[in-house]
Symmetry: C2
């Protein structure tokens, strides 16, 4: 998952991807939208730029980092962004860090820290705190229901994968 | 894919939303896609149903819960799902829990637990563990860059909010 191989930015000013991420955050803010931007780089090329689209799209998941991940995956026709780096104007929230792990990005550069963001009213600390709690202790009520029926689907899927693997060996 | 016409649950069995979430997980699995489904209910009506679309859409963020949240927000023309409940065939991963908090959902019903999912090869435990670590200790390298320039945008945004508030008082 982690690449230690540095991406060669020799044809690009070293600050260029972050400058673009910040430019997108500024532009979005000036349009009255959320002040966050992100850029994804692969092989010294910017392959996706995005700004937070939560209010424009009525999509609570449309943080700049997730929008950039969606675009980069379209560009590369894959869900696997290993070999890519994310530049984001602000440290990603837990939702975006989850998406970053699922997409196997190599490395993150961030501008503001989450402490900076909290200082000006954009705190995500409560999500870290909630995720660290046991299910039953969260402020979000979570109840289990119809577990056996739901689990049958997952078990059947696993069995089918095992059968296919056996067939191909 | 999207159920835009609300389904009235007042005459339905209390198990109906979870049964639908599980049906979507089964259907997706039988089509060779990820075996997860989700449903959102408001005022005893199903307003959105979804399955995991990661492989179909090349979108690592397209878990069933996030797809259902995006659809419900379109149906209700809002980013605020307070008053709504999510039924999901499997306990949401940290990315989806983040989206659930950002969208202010009231309550979650889940079928399989994350321990069930891990037992058949769908573990998300590493994301919980990574989120609990300090930035510098994660396996995902995170570096700060151009902080002051990025922070200027957030501070300007806060100032503009404060100015607007003062004007309206």
């Amino acid at each position: 998952m982690t690449s230690t191989k540095p991406i060669d930015l020799s044809n690009m000013a070293a600050t260029e991807p972050m400058a673009q991420a910040i430019a997108r955050s500024r532009e979005n803010s000036e349009n009255g939208c959320e002040p966050f931007g992100a850029v994804i780089v692969k092989d010294s090329k910017i392959i996706a730029t995005a700004s937070n689209q939560v209010t424009q799209n009525n999509d609570p998941s449309a943080h700049a980092e997730i929008m950039a991940i969606r675009k980069a995956c379209q560009v590369l026709d894959t869900t696997d962004l290993s070999g890519c780096e994310l530049y984001t104007s602000c440290e990603p929230c837990p939702m975006c860090i989850g998406a970053i792990y699922w997409s196997s990005l190599d490395r993150i550069y961030y501008g503001c820290s989450k402490e900076d963001a909290a200082e000006v009213g954009f705190s995500d600390q409560f999500i870290y705190e909630e995720l660290a709690k046991k299910r039953g202790d969260r402020r979000l009520p979570m109840h289990q229901k119809m577990r056996d029926e739901a689990f049958k689907v997952l078990k059947k899927r696993q069995q089918s994968k095992t059968d296919n693997k056996a067939k191909n060996e």
